[in-house]
């Protein structure tokens, strides 16, 4: 009796949540539908399906891709994100291990500066950071990884420190006694233990860097290099009229890789977010 009631109750919620879920992905579906309409019809009737008059085929995709160079923007985004994440993982985990094992004034200062940097909003350093990176010529997609390492170090070092502290000292000492130097100890003992944290940090930083607009738009030489968010914003242009067709098509191009990546790595992404939130 009780279980019958319970399953009925559960069915009702399944139906309700199914409806909500469909509404939840509606915005993306709408953009997808509109990306196949002629641009003049998009603002006028955004909620209707394309018909014989309004159907535009893939022309929006072609014109959008040409206007903003979406292919090179995609490549730039990949270079910046992958490069920065690898550098952050490697350098910050090494630094965090150093900080937790070497008790010195430097370690203390570095740790508290990292914690402090987490609450500083980007606007605080945006002007000066862009001047510093100009002076140091960090204005291309490869050199900008240094800026991301610097600005992302706070959270990453803090997260790695939390986990590095819990590694038993005996394991490291055993490795040292067996003749490992610190480099070998780090790569063969510490790094494997830190692997779950590496994944969490990598996911959090990748989400941030891939979607970041303001930092690269101020630092990169925009006449030569665009990332995807910069390219999308560029489509809006300085003047009033926006090519809505190209905009819709490029929004889909920007969203689809993320959704595919999410569906493949969902487990890691969700674990990473939980771990990051609990520690951060």
């Amino acid at each position: 009796m009780n279980s019958v009631r319970k399953s009925k109750y559960s069915m009702v919620w399944t139906i309700v949540l199914s409806i909500v879920s469909v509404l939840y992905i509606m915005p993306i579906i709408l953009v997808l539908i509109n990306s196949f309409k002629r641009k003049a019809y998009i603002s006028r009737e955004p909620f209707s399906l394309p018909n014989a008059d309004t159907y535009a085929g893939f022309s929006n995709y072609v014109s959008g891709a040409e206007k903003i160079g979406i292919v090179s923007a995609f490549i730039n985004s990949v270079i910046v994100t992958v490069g920065s994440v690898i550098l952050i993982i490697l350098c910050c985990s090494m630094c965090a291990w150093y900080i937790t094992r070497v008790k010195s004034v430097f370690s203390k200062i570095m740790f508290y500066l990292c914690v402090f940097s987490m609450i500083v909003p980007f606007q605080m350093v945006m002007f000066t950071l862009s001047k510093v990176s100009d002076t140091l010529h960090l204005t291309n997609p490869i050199a900008i990884v240094v800026v991301y390492l610097g600005f992302g170090a706070g959270l990453s070092v803090f997260m790695f420190c939390g986990f590095a502290k819990s590694i038993p000292l005996e394991i490291e000492e055993a490795a040292m006694i067996d003749g490992c130097n610190p480099i070998q100890t780090y790569f063969q003992v510490v790094m494997p233990i830190l692997k779950p944290t590496c994944i969490s940090v990598a996911i959090l930083q990748a989400m941030w860097i891939w979607n970041d607009y303001l930092l690269p738009s101020l630092i990169l030489d925009k006449t030569k290099y665009k990332t995807i968010p910069i390219a999308i914003q560029y489509l809006k242009g300085g003047y009033g009229s926006v090519d809505m067709g190209a905009m819709m098509a490029m929004l889909i191009v920007a969203v689809v890789p993320i959704i595919i990546f999410y569906l493949i790595c969902q487990k890691y992404i969700i674990e990473g977010v939980v771990a990051g939130a609990v520690k951060g």
Partner: protein, 281 residues
């Protein structure tokens, strides 16, 4: 002993991060603090003017407006996001059929970047408003609620994930004991579940609070301040002060310092207050 050996390896282990941290954070931060007290157009022509910039800020009606607009926006989004996120998390921990699919769907918008989100919602909100012959540029009220809906869409999934983890950590015996003692559903929620997930509530409030307060990309893409900078949040106001007109860089930097102080104070108060309420496990 371990530490002593490692110390010799400072240049390899700690120096790269430290140098990048100097370039990416410490130097710009210190320069930023100094420049807030200067009049300048580039870093090299800075002239010290004392507190003048800070006096100018509070005579700037747009900044004061942005401050209140942001405060109200933050309050509304923190409440709505956490309420809906928690409610969905409660439903998704009851073993309803399809839980995994729902979780996947609700979390998805979180991965989409702010600029892209802004333009997706611009289409929809302008589409709805067009039915009444309006657009987002008519009033800052539309921009406000547009951003509230957008932030809810983006962040509900995020806090939901954290709440699910928190609710699943509540020991089953505790819930059973409460039921045997005759507690009703709402009593179980208020007296057992809520206190037990207090750490998650702390985290989620803190995250949504700072996310809303520092919101920039979504604001830029959705309204860009229209009409006439009335729908500017603080971050966008600071950006426009810097890059919108020359000669106001010092004021922009001073605004950024005020912004930083507010974020810092909120973060500290929030952590102190909610830490007290947490149940020791």
């Amino acid at each position: 002993m371990n530490g002593k050996v490692l110390k010799k390896y400072f240049p390899l282990f700690a120096l790269p991060t430290f140098l990048a941290f100097l370039i990416g954070f410490v130097v710009p931060f210190v320069m930023g603090i100094y420049l807030a007290f200067c009049k300048f157009t580039t870093v090299s022509d800075a002239k010290f003017v004392g507190l003048q910039n800070f006096r100018d800020i509070f005579n700037d009606p747009e900044f004061i407006h942005a401050l209140w607009y942001t405060a109200l926006f933050t309050v509304v989004t923190v409440i709505t996001i956490n309420f809906f996120g928690f409610a969905i998390a409660m439903l998704l921990t009851k073993g309803i059929r399809g839980t995994n699919i729902f979780r996947t769907v609700f979390f998805m918008p979180n991965l989409i970047g702010g600029i892209v989100l802004g333009y997706i919602w611009q289409l929809i909100i302008n589409g709805v408003l067009a039915l009444f012959g309006l657009t987002l540029t008519f009033s800052e009220v539309y921009g406000f609620w547009g951003m509230v809906v957008l932030m809810n869409w983006q962040q509900i999934g995020y806090v939901m994930i954290i709440y699910i983890a928190g609710i699943q950590n509540v020991p089953g015996e505790l819930l059973e004991a409460a039921r045997i003692d005759g507690a009703t559903n709402s009593q179980v929620l208020r007296k057992v579940i809520l206190p037990m997930v207090m750490p998650s509530i702390t985290i989620c409030t803190f995250l949504t609070l700072t996310n809303s307060f520092k919101l920039f990309d979504q604001n830029l893409a959705l309204t860009n301040g229209a009409p006439s900078n009335k729908s500017e949040l603080l971050a966008l106001n600071i950006f426009n002060t810097f890059y919108g007109r020359t000669g106001y860089e010092g004021i922009g930097q001073a605004k950024a310092v005020v912004f930083f102080l507010i974020v810092g104070i909120i973060a500290t108060i929030q952590l102190v207050l909610t830490n007290r309420k947490e149940v020791q496990q």
